[in-house]
């Protein structure tokens, strides 16, 4: 069942069809919530977002993609949560422990690569919030510029310029650190 059909059937109240959509986008929705700062409440945020998405499915424009539409709801829910908690939106994600294990025959090279990744993640964390959100959408969620614009509610030109500024800053950081 593709998205279109699942949405059409969900609109008729078919919850089994909607379950297919939820399962399909669950991992990406969690990733979005975590990367936007939901921390250990990501599961709550994601469930709430899927419930809201179902109830507002009629407002979804069928010619646009379901993915950015859903992720916008996830981003908004996360924003509401961090605001209600009195927190700033922060990138709290860590490198996974398995990253090093990917090159077992070259432990030293793997350690250097892991260290560089950790520094790059630190640099992304330190970006001004808007640039960071753009970079997170484009590279960590691997969304297109148009999708990023929809998720963040910005014009495409703004996505481009903020991504560009964020990358310039990261490039500069990486240059300083590794010569």
């Amino acid at each position: 069942m593709d998205d279109d059909e699942a949405i059409a059937r969900s609109l008729e109240g078919d919850l089994t069809a909607y379950e297919v959509l939820v399962a399909r986008y669950s991992a990406l929705a969690h990733r979005t919530a975590v990367l936007f700062g939901a921390r250990d409440e990501a599961e709550d945020v994601v469930q709430e977002a899927f419930v809201k998405a179902f109830r507002h499915l009629r407002t979804f424009r069928r010619d646009a993609g379901f993915r950015p539409w859903l992720l916008r709801i996830v981003a908004n829910e996360t924003h509401n949560l961090t605001r209600a908690r009195g927190r700033r939106s922060e990138l709290t994600v860590r490198l996974s422990a398995t990253a090093e294990a990917k090159a077992p025959d070259d432990p030293e090279g793997a350690a250097v690569a892991t260290d560089r990744r950790a520094r790059l993640l630190e640099a992304v964390r330190a970006l001004p919030e808007r640039e960071r959100r753009a970079v997170v959408c484009r590279y960590f969620l691997q969304l297109s510029e148009a999708e990023t614009a929809q998720v963040l509610g910005w014009p495409v030109g703004t996505v481009k310029s903020r991504t560009h500024r964020g990358l310039a800053r990261l490039r500069e950081e990486a240059g300083h650190e590794l010569g």
Partner: protein, 239 residues
């Protein structure tokens, strides 16, 4: 080298980094099932109509058009519930600018609370021991505070109202809490206190979204939960 070429490697590095981020997620089928369960549950929003009927019935009893000292806010309905007086107005009321503490509020150790108030005091098991506990107005109100702005007030719900809340739209949603009906007040709203001495009204502060309910003779208000579902879940852990 053009700047775009220089960006290429940082872009590639970012994409590689994306694969090494530790982003745990529950099994998708589990999320799908949980969402389905929530969608099949009765919708609190649908019950809003019933709330209006309740409000109208109450208006018949206490039809009031009151002008407050502060702002001549027109009150169109009053509901007294769980020791709280909800004053429903046509517009969103002006926020309380300066927060004030409850009268006679002082901090007490958790294990000494029971001796200082006239009703059984409980705590939210889901959140563990509160960071701070206060007793106010000669033992009428117990307040517990947890991190992230979560606050639980407990007070004798049989007596005259202790708190008043001014509400514009959106009006409260009914929600089931621990087997009883409570109300979820979704918006930020002015909160005040009606003191024992002479019934004077003390504006307290601008309260965040709050769940109110009565359990036995004790009134409860839980403030600071991010969603109605989370508030109801926390309230369910009252022990």
């Amino acid at each position: 080298m053009s700047s775009d070429e220089r960006f290429d490697d940082i872009e590639a590095e970012l994409r590689a980094l994306a694969g090494s981020l530790d982003v745990p997620a529950p099994p998708p089928e589990q999320v799908a099932a949980a969402v389905r369960t929530r969608l099949e549950a009765p919708r609190p929003v649908k019950r809003r109509r019933r709330w209006r009927i309740v409000a109208v019935a109450v208006v018949a009893l206490v039809a009031v058009t009151a002008a407050t000292p502060q702002g001549r806010q027109v009150v169109t309905a009053i509901l007294r519930y769980a020791g709280i007086e909800l004053r429903l107005g046509g517009d969103t009321p002006a926020p309380v600018p300066t927060p004030a503490p409850l009268p006679g509020e002082r901090e007490v150790p958790l294990d000494e609370v029971a001796g200082q108030v006239a009703f059984p005091v409980r705590t939210l098991a889901a959140l563990g021991e509160p960071e701070r506990v206060t007793v106010a107005d000669g033992g009428r109100v117990v307040s517990m505070f947890w991190p992230d702005g979560i606050r639980l007030d407990q007070f004798d719900g049989r007596m005259d109202p202790f708190f008043f809340k001014r509400l514009g739209p959106p009006f409260p949603d009914e929600v089931e809490v621990d087997g009883v009906t409570g109300f979820w007040l979704p918006g930020s709203h002015p909160l005040g206190y009606i003191s024992r001495e002479g019934g004077g009204e003390v504006p307290l502060r601008q309260a965040g979204p709050t769940l109110i309910w009565q359990s036995g003779d004790v009134g409860h208000r839980l403030e600071g939960a991010p969603s109605m579902a989370r508030a109801a879940e926390l309230a369910g852990s009252l022990r």
